[in-house]
């Protein structure tokens, strides 16, 4: 039950025409095919996708289902980034200095489809965008199941994939891909960042109940968290309640937790599942008696459940808007976003914006849309500024080395305005949080 639609029909027609012309020319006998340098044979949508006046990026984000709210959030970040790229906004120029009212003389357009957070739908939508729009890059995912599927698809189709929200270790671990890049934090870095904070605040030898959504994201985050807490603090996982994505009634799971003797609930659920499980944990009287920990923060969680329920909750996140006091780029972003959309951005939008900004940087620095050129530009691992300070890509697994932000939910009375939900406790340096590049079995595929 999904609606799909394209944005920017005009540029699509232009692209189609360009594509048809190209295909037609190949059919005329005796006519010489456009000559490309010997070492750059046509591949994926190259060069057809970048021959018009516009290049298109295909986004498959969830606009329905349990992750819909976060999908819309990502979309806003993408739209803002494209607006900035095409207008040469100050913020985008700080990250990608060579952007000049577009990239390499071309405007950037976005086409959007609803993935419903389902891998199948996402892949189908991107296939359609490749056929119809000759997209030069694809993005989207709020579920790592989608991210992993698109990783494989990107590798096969030779189209760059800018991972959107994906917290699974596998995305740049065993399912990593040459054509895929991740900006955001993930299970392992989240655990290594929030773990020490938990041990410092609550001490050793505690009992924790885990709530885990049943797919790659949930299982890897739970594994990273439980291993850290056990190894470093002697915490014991007394129960792990695994629920399918899209669960609405958590009473059975919470009853098991109520009877488990846990001191802590480590809630890995995400999207609406997180909203409902947090609310119901309160209804069943589990919180605040048991302390809630959220290793992978959910955009809009506090807004949806209310500050009374997130008060005192520890969470790891990619970005929180009050970081604007510390980082000038964050300030620019928060200003631009809140002006356009009327509320403070959350990390889904920040991640999407950064991914587009980074892509614009890599393409303009490489001076080419030829995918291997762009990939090699990423793999140089150059340092560039972000909204949380300087960052760089790790060439071995295409993971951005970036800090993880630890926040704690404010009590309603301590909130300075109605969106002041979280207090930033620490911005933990990224490099020491990461596993060795091959520790999760990442083997990047070929360039061509």
């Amino acid at each position: 039950m999904t609606f799909e639609f394209d944005r920017d029909g005009v540029s699509r027609r232009v692209l189609l025409r360009a594509g048809a012309g190209l295909a037609g020319s190949a059919l005329v006998p005796g006519m010489i095919m456009p000559v490309f340098a010997e070492d750059k044979p046509a591949m994926g949508t190259w060069p057809a996708g970048s021959q018009g006046s516009t290049v298109t990026i295909g986004a498959a984000v969830p606009r329905t289902g349990a992750y819909a709210a976060q999908g819309e959030d990502e979309l806003k970040g993408m739209e803002l980034a494209i607006e900035h790229i095409n207008s040469g906004h100050e913020l985008i120029k700080k990250i990608a200095p060579k952007v000049n009212n577009g990239v390499l003389g071309k405007k950037v357009a976005l086409v959007v489809a609803d993935s419903g957070a389902k891998p199948n739908n996402a892949v189908q939508a991107q296939q359609r965008f490749i056929n119809e729009n000759k997209i030069v890059a694809m993005t989207g995912s709020t579920s790592s199941a989608v991210a992993v599927a698109l990783n494989k698809f990107a590798e096969r189709e030779k189209i760059l994939y800018l991972v959107a929200i994906s917290g699974s270790n596998d995305t740049t671990g065993k399912d990593c891909a040459r054509y895929s890049f991740r900006q955001c934090f993930y299970g392992e870095t989240a655990a290594n960042a929030i773990g020490p904070v938990l041990l410092k605040n609550f001490g050793k030898d505690k009992k924790a109940a885990f709530m885990t959504p049943d797919y790659t994201y949930g299982h890897t985050v739970t594994k990273s968290m439980s291993e850290f807490l056990e190894k470093n603090g002697g915490w014991k996982m007394v129960t792990n309640q695994v629920s399918p994505l899209g669960t609405s009634d958590f009473s059975q799971y919470l009853t098991n937790i109520a009877n488990s003797g846990a001191d802590f609930i480590v809630n890995v659920n995400w999207g609406r599942d997180a909203v409902l499980s947090v609310q119901q944990a309160k209804q069943f009287g589990l919180t605040p008696k048991m302390k809630m920990v959220i290793p992978y923060q959910i955009p809009f969680l506090a807004k949806e459940v209310g500050a009374e329920l997130t008060e005192g909750v520890f969470a790891a996140t990619d970005f929180w808007w009050t970081l604007e006091d510390k980082y000038p780029l964050a300030k620019l972003f928060v200003q631009a976003f809140s002006k356009k959309y009327g509320y403070m951005p959350e990390w889904g939008a920040e991640n999407a914006y950064m991914q587009f900004a980074i892509w614009a940087r890599m393409v303009t620095e490489a001076g080419s849309f030829y995918p291997p050129d762009v990939i090699k530009q990423y793999e140089k691992g150059e340092t560039f500024p972000s909204m949380v300070g300087d960052v760089h890509f790790r060439p071995q697994d295409h993971q951005l080395v970036r800090p993880v932000v630890i926040v704690r939910g404010k009590a309603p009375k301590d909130m300075k305005n109605k969106e002041d939900y979280w207090e930033v406790l620490e911005v933990v340096d990224g490099a020491p949080l990461m596993q060795k590049p091959d520790a999760f079995g990442c083997k990047l595929g070929p360039y061509t």
Binding site: M1, V242, T255, N256, S260, L276, Q280
Partner: protein, 291 residues
């Protein structure tokens, strides 16, 4: 977590879930039993009840108003749907009926999504039902306890309507043999319309009273529809007592399996359905030969 305390707690959970499933399923089963139409929009009607109630709540801040509006709105939707569309499908094959009701369900869901977005909406329980009760073996949300009573009363009302009124007698006679009832000079069409309205209202009522438990969202009806079908198949298609028994069995299977491993809850539920289909193809309380 396998211990007596947890078992009792989970059985209690199962009772609450089971009663709710029983209520929704009874709506589905009386429609099917009387009209022979499998209403695949039933899940969407459950969702509509939640939204209509939520809308009423936003304007009035009264939970009672929300419940009344939620139920009545869906009843009216049901009646209009029967008058305008379903009526012309009574004589058509089952496949057509399934397709048209499935399509109507999609229209409802997407219309709601279009109007209110995908973010879930919250209807808080009435003030006096907020909070937790200590049951001895566990703490339980007061509202979920109240839900048990609310749904039990609703089922009782349905029972009285079906078994203690003239309308109910006609409906039950219609389930047995609609042609005969027609031949006796009773306006079967009017009764059909009422039955569809009552069946829809059961779904709408369940949708709004369940809203404070899980919040309402456009796709809330999808999983409920599947569970409801299982309940109806287990209990016996067209049987009102069967829907109640099936609901309670389904609720308990889901909850008790969850104590061991929630991942197997639905496996066990479908296994139970398969077992019923093999041993008693017409359901536990169904009658053989009814189509």
């Amino acid at each position: 977590m396998v211990n007596w305390g947890n078992l009792i707690s989970q059985m209690f959970n199962g009772l609450v879930l089971g009663m709710l499933l029983a209520l929704i399923s009874s709506g589905l089963t009386i429609i099917y039993g009387t009209l022979g139409v499998l209403n695949l929009a039933h899940g969407a009607m459950f969702m509509l009840g939640g939204y209509a109630g939520w809308l009423a709540f936003t304007y009035t801040h009264s939970f009672i108003a929300a419940v009344v509006v939620g139920s009545l709105f869906v009843m009216i939707v049901g009646i209009v749907m029967e008058r305008v569309i379903i009526r012309s499908f009574y004589d058509r094959p089952h496949e057509d009926q399934i397709l048209v009701t499935f399509g109507i369900g999609i229209v409802f869901v997407e219309a709601v999504r279009f109007a209110f977005g995908s973010l879930s909406k919250i209807v808080p329980p009435p003030e006096m039902l907020n909070g937790i009760v200590n049951l001895g073996f566990m703490f339980y949300p007061k509202y979920r306890l109240a839900l048990l009573v609310i749904v039990a009363v609703a089922l009782l009302v349905l029972y009285i309507v079906l078994y203690r009124t003239k309308l109910g007698m006609i409906v039950r006679a219609g389930i047995e043999d609609a042609g005969m009832v027609d031949a006796l000079g009773i306006n079967v069409h009017k009764v059909f319309m009422l039955v569809f309205g009552i069946g829809a209202m059961a779904a709408g009522f369940a949708g709004i009273v369940n809203a404070p438990v899980v919040a309402v969202s456009p796709d809330a009806g999808e999983s409920i529809l599947v569970q409801t079908f299982v309940v109806v198949v287990i209990g016996g298609v067209g049987s009102f007592p069967g829907a109640i028994l099936g609901g309670l069995i389904a609720g308990e299977i889901i909850s008790i399996t969850s104590m061991f491993n929630p991942g197997y809850a639905y496996v066990m539920l479908f296994a139970a359905m398969t077992l019923v289909l093999v041993l008693r193809p017409y359901g536990l309380l169904g009658t053989a030969g009814r189509d």
